[in-house]
């Protein structure tokens, strides 16, 4: 790939990176053969396949492809579409970790899929297993007006450092790192094993605020502040120190207590911090120092979009907006201010009324790739809310893009609203689930499909997890829905007050579990309380914060009686 053709927005592989992913494919092929021949036991093969993204689900193997920090080129998206057609059932599923999953995969074809991925500088490495997983970040990185550090460069440094790490590949449990370059924290960093909030000091130098021990699952915690200022040059040494303390002291006797959040909780924050700082002091130095030259070299492999100098205002856009209320609503919900005048960030909703959150067919992927080439420099991002993003769209082309997306079914004006539901695969696919998530998301999104009503309700997040592992992030939703097993029947527990942003909070359970059929009515009751009680400008979460959960619970009990 020549410099002139360098894809915008993502780290451009060099020959070493390319050789590495191909070596990993050869290694996996050999591992599959040894498993088939019986020289690797099933128990031994399992973590090896997991570290190549391959799960065994209820009905088939599932392959989770890494999309590092959620950025894809249009050519990579076309390759994902080809794989969906050739090896799966013609579709893929975008996940809350900015990855893509194929749900109908054969073990014997997996190495071929990995080779196809390697051909377009992609992989499925460390998307599962007890290792450092795909690093996630803000889907608007490098574009948002409120950003002060581009987190992709540091996410890429973390990706490289954590790839095939000799010491940290057999950790007590999985390990997730998220990094945000904006104070708005669209990456939910405080609910990750390590959360990094980028900062700059008064001289403009980059550093990080480090949170450790956040997470969802059966024991949700908001991450604790372990270090307020971590200079860029010590960034990896500190990660090594945290991981080493965890690898040695994290619990291995109980899978449910093995995450670092439990270690931090049981050790207590100060002793944990002291252990990390002691390790850090011992290893900090040239060996792990992140030199400015390294940061610059990685930065140089990210091609910036060739933005034009444009006027901030677009009369054509204003006219289209005035003439078309549906377009105007879409602008409000699905676009975000870009740092460059005349541009906007656009979110493509993968949550049409009655649709499956995060699903896209191969044809849709191809169509999105074509639109990305036309409108956003051939770059596509995956948001952890299971939507796609075009990060750099000219404001005077927004109307044309909106019409094209509408034809594809990706222009629902619901981003951040009640039907922009995050849902895990649930019992339709997952071996761990207690209850189905997808059909419930479809029912809720049908019930609340009226887009004018959604906008009248304002920003409101609803997330659904099919079990306590919380892949659907229900804990941090304004209204969270958790699938539980109630004497062999599927049931759902409702939480309210969760928040994934800078004021991260875990929701409160509001009563006994309900049936799937009752969930939309419960949401209706909750929003009715909000509409009765809200003051000017208050979002659902603000009214709830002001009143507390009690009045919402009471209304629910009254409605149920």
């Amino acid at each position: 790939m020549s410099e002139a053709q360098a894809p915008v927005g993502l780290y451009r592989y060099d020959e070493v990176d390319r050789a590495f992913v191909h070596q990993r494919v050869a290694q996996f092929r050999d591992q599959v053969e040894r498993f088939m021949a019986g020289t690797l036991t099933g128990d031994e093969f399992k973590p090896l396949r997991l570290m190549n993204g391959l799960y065994l689900q209820l009905h088939a193997y599932m392959l989770r492809v890494a999309i590092p920090y959620g950025v894809l080129s249009s050519d990579q998206l076309r390759a994902l579409a080809r794989i969906a057609r050739r090896y799966d059932r013609g579709y893929g599923h975008f996940t809350t970790r900015q990855n893509l999953q194929y749900n109908w995969i054969k073990l014997e074809e997996t190495a071929d899929i990995l080779a196809d991925l390697a051909d377009v500088d992609m992989h499925a490495l460390q998307t599962s297993g007890n290792c450092i997983r795909n690093v996630t970040t803000d889907q608007f990185c490098g574009a948002a007006a409120d950003e002060f550090v581009d987190p992709r460069v540091y996410a890429e440094i973390l990706r490289q450092w954590s790839t095939n790490h000799p010491e940290f590949t057999y950790l007590p449990r999985k390990f997730k790192i998220a990094i945000s370059g904006s104070p708005a924290d669209r990456a939910a960093v405080k609910v990750h094993d390590i959360g990094l909030l980028s900062r700059r000091d008064d001289q403009g130098r980059v550093g990080f605020r480090v949170f450790v021990g956040g997470g969802l699952g059966r024991t949700p915690f908001v991450g604790k502040l372990v270090r307020d200022w971590l200079p860029e040059e010590d960034f990896l040494a500190y990660m090594e120190a945290i991981l080493r303390v965890y690898n040695q002291a994290g619990r291995r006797d109980n899978i449910y207590k093995a995450r670092i959040k439990i270690l931090v909780h049981e050790m207590k924050l100060e002793p944990f911090r002291a252990a990390v700082e002691a390790e850090f002091e011992a290893i900090r130095g040239p060996r792990f120092r992140v030199e400015p030259e390294l940061v610059a070299a990685i930065q140089a492999r990210f091609a910036p979009p060739p933005l034009e100098t444009l006027p901030a205002e677009s009369p054509a856009l204003d006219a289209a907006k005035a003439a078309n209320p549906a377009f105007a609503r879409w602008l409000v919900a699905n676009t975000l201010a870009h740092k460059a005048p005349g541009y906007a960030c656009v979110t493509l909703s993968l949550k049409p009324p009655g649709g499956i959150p995060g699903d896209a067919t191969a044809d849709q992927m191809d169509a999105v790739a074509g639109l990305a080439d036309r409108y956003s420099f051939g770059e596509v991002r995956v948001a952890h809310e299971q939507n796609l993003v075009f990060a750099h769209v000219r404001r005077d082309e927004l109307f044309a893009l909106w019409k094209a997306l509408d034809a594809l079914g990706f222009a629902t004006a619901n981003i951040g609203h009640v039907t922009d539901i995050i849902a895990c695969p649930g019992l339709d696919y997952c071996a761990l689930a207690n209850a189905r998530s997808i059909p419930l998301a479809q029912v809720i999104s049908t019930r609340f499909a009226d887009i004018e009503r959604q906008h009248a309700l304002g920003p409101l997040t609803v997330n659904i997890s099919g079990c306590i592992n919380a892949c659907g992030h229900h804990h941090v939703a304004n209204i969270g829905v958790l699938g539980v097993d109630k004497k062999g029947e599927e049931a759902y527990q409702i939480t309210i007050g969760g928040n994934a942003g800078p004021d991260a909070a875990i929701g409160d359970i509001i009563g006994p579990s309900v049936t799937a059929a009752e969930v939309p009515d419960v949401i209706e009751s909750l929003v009715a309380v909000y509409l009765r009680q809200r003051r000017d400008g208050e979002r659902f979460i603000d009214t709830l914060g002001r009143l507390g959960p009690k009045s919402f619970k009471e209304a629910l009990n009254a409605d149920a009686a």
């Binding site: 020959e15 290694q27 020289t39 031994e44 790490h165 000799p166 057999y170 007590p172 030199e291 390294l294």
Partner: protein
């Protein structure tokens, strides 16, 4: 006698040098005093998924200046061989029935690393990746 390989994949003989044997559950406080009188520190993995052994070897090398042999034993798999070497192990005791050729193949299948480690790669390149393409 179990087969012993060194950090390059070569079969070596156990020369009977004094050895102290620990499991991955041992603490550095227990292991460090044993370094002085022993030419070999053996760390036994009760199960291959128990990654504590990797950190123990690195800590012996990095923080305690241990330059003698560190031997991995117990339940380890060929796919961990390169990781063991890169964490400072210099010998592996193969499980019963293991094929040394398979272990040698596993050692060399990945020639690239993205982070500093210990072993023969140590003299190559800079921070970002060691080993040769």
């Amino acid at each position: 006698m179990p087969t012993l390989l060194d950090h390059t994949g070569a079969v070596i003989a156990d020369d009977g040098a004094p050895s102290a044997r620990f499991t991955t559950a041992a603490t550095l406080e227990e292991i460090v005093p044993a370094m002085a009188g022993n030419a070999v520190v053996t760390i036994e993995f009760p199960v291959f998924r128990d990654g504590r052994g990797f950190s123990l070897a690195r800590a012996l090398r990095e923080h305690h200046g241990y330059t003698g042999a560190i031997r991995a034993a117990g339940h380890i798999i060929a796919d961990q061989y390169a990781f063991l070497v890169r964490c400072g192990f210099t010998q592996v005791e193969l499980p019963d029935g293991a094929d040394p050729a398979e272990w040698r193949r596993a050692l060399s299948v990945i020639a690239i690393a993205y982070q500093p480690g210990y072993g023969p790669e140590e003299t190559a390149l800079g921070w970002r990746r060691f080993g040769t393409v």
